[in-house]
Amino acid sequence: MITIIDYKSGNLKSISNGFKKIGEDFQITDDVEVISDATHLVLPGVGAFGSAMENLELFRDVIEEHIADDKPFLGVCLGQQVLMSESEESPNIRGLDLFKGRCEFLPKGVKVPHMGWNQLNVVKDSAILEGIDKEYFYFVHSYHVIPDDSDIIAGTCDYGIDVAASLSQNNLFSTQFHPEKSGKAGLRILKNFTSIKE
């Protein structure tokens, strides 16, 4: 079943209502046993990198296993950032390190947070972005991810620089934007994700 990890960080309500809307069964849990049986894992999140990682340590192993088995995984917003190795926001705190690279503060010259609807440029095939082209998504963040290997960037948006808006590697996916807050295009991404077979 689609399983949303409850690590006490983030708005679980909206993402669950998103799955409800598209008619998918899901569960919200902080039980490691339940998480280890999940077909699809979702990691939402708002807030700071450091405190999120503190709460996530408990789930590090089970998440690593899920990804090692190449089961579908989706990180949203902060849930994308914690997949990286580290963040300028919370130095000396180790991220989940599933995507190599770091998070940095958005560059000078733009309003921070980057808040609002921005257009997604799809730059490579990614199962979650199927059928998406130039659609707008809702972003709200102050840090952005810079993967060491830019080939894992599936979508970008223009905010002074090309912001890595979506990453994908095998069945590991993430979005900097909030699909659950991005209208019908966002629901499409959730639907794409749930359609991925293990």
Partner: protein, 274 residues
């Protein structure tokens, strides 16, 4: 590129079980506009970028009603939701975010206790901490007449902006521009800026106010108060760099649909999401 946001605002009277959306002229002469959940759903379908739900009764007992309204809203409305009114403690932010809101706006509580912004931004993050500033023009003959204030020159003469609280019923004498900067420093992530001179008058946004505050801070500013027609929204986007425009009456009473307004903006080269 980032688009300009169009945000309908629902001023809610939560003294009836479902809540009802009302709109006053300069905070008086209340008119009934509909049920908040139905209206917000309609705006979402029409392409609104976000919705602000304000509890104008803002009393402690109504907080549970508000959480319930938000809860029902999030079942069909997949866009950001900002809640205002009655947010006084960090715990109130947490409750509203749990109910499905993305941001909470405070005004009176933050002026009475600015530390609230600092604490809330640490706990829920800046992106969820919106500061509502209700500003009124105070004209002076000469900038030296208000030395401790930030005086700007407007078409109608020199003025500074006074921050009001309790929905415009009380004035604090706090300079709105300086206060906006302090809020940003304390961690607020967005400013919902209402002109008390313009609210409900449909005479257009206070361009000079919006420009002054927007230029003083780096966080996004939402212009509010005074919109009467789509041209007013175009004006504020052409003459200032605010991130969003908020409106109530022109949408509630079916004068214009969100889609019509956005199409008009796009035709006039404003980047909007259609």
């Amino acid at each position: 590129m980032l688009t300009k946001r169009i945000i309908p605002c629902l001023d809610c009277d939560l003294q009836v079980p479902e809540g009802r959306v009302v709109k006053g002229v300069e905070f008086k002469e209340i008119k009934y506009a509909g049920n908040p959940v139905e209206l917000a759903t309609r705006y979402y379908e029409e392409g609104a970028d976000e919705v602000v739900v304000l509890d104008i009764t803002a009393s402690h007992e109504r907080r549970a009603t508000m959480a319930d309204v938000i809860d029902r809203l999030t079942e069909n409305v997949f866009m950001p939701i900002c809640v205002g009114g009655g947010i006084r403690k960090v715990d109130d932010y947490i409750k509203m975010l749990k109910a499905g809101a993305d941001k909470c706006s405070t005004n009176t509580a933050a002026i009475k206790n600015p530390e609230l912004l600092t604490e809330a931004s640490k706990v829920v993050g800046s992106q969820a901490v919106v500061i509502g500033i209700d500003a009124k023009r105070r004209y002076v003959d000469h900038p030296d007449d208000a030395k401790d204030k930030i005086v700007i020159e407007t078409e109608k003469g020199y003025c500074w902006f006074d921050s009001s609280i309790y929905g415009g019923r009380e004035f604090t004498g706090i300079d709105a521009i300086a206060w906006a900067c302090e809020c940003q420093d304390r961690g607020a992530g967005e400013i919902l800026l209402t002109s008390m001179d313009g609210d409900g008058t449909q005479a257009g946004y206070d361009i000079e106010l919006n420009k002054a505050i927007n230029d003083a801070v780096d966080i996004p500013v939402i212009a509010s108060g005074g919109v009467g027609e789509p041209k007013d929204i175009l004006d504020v986007f052409e003459k200032t760099d605010v991130s969003a425009a908020l409106a109530a009456s022109i949408f509630h009473f079916n004068q214009y649909s969100i889609g019509e307004v956005k199409k008009y903006l796009k035709d006039n080269n404003v980047a909007v999401r259609l």
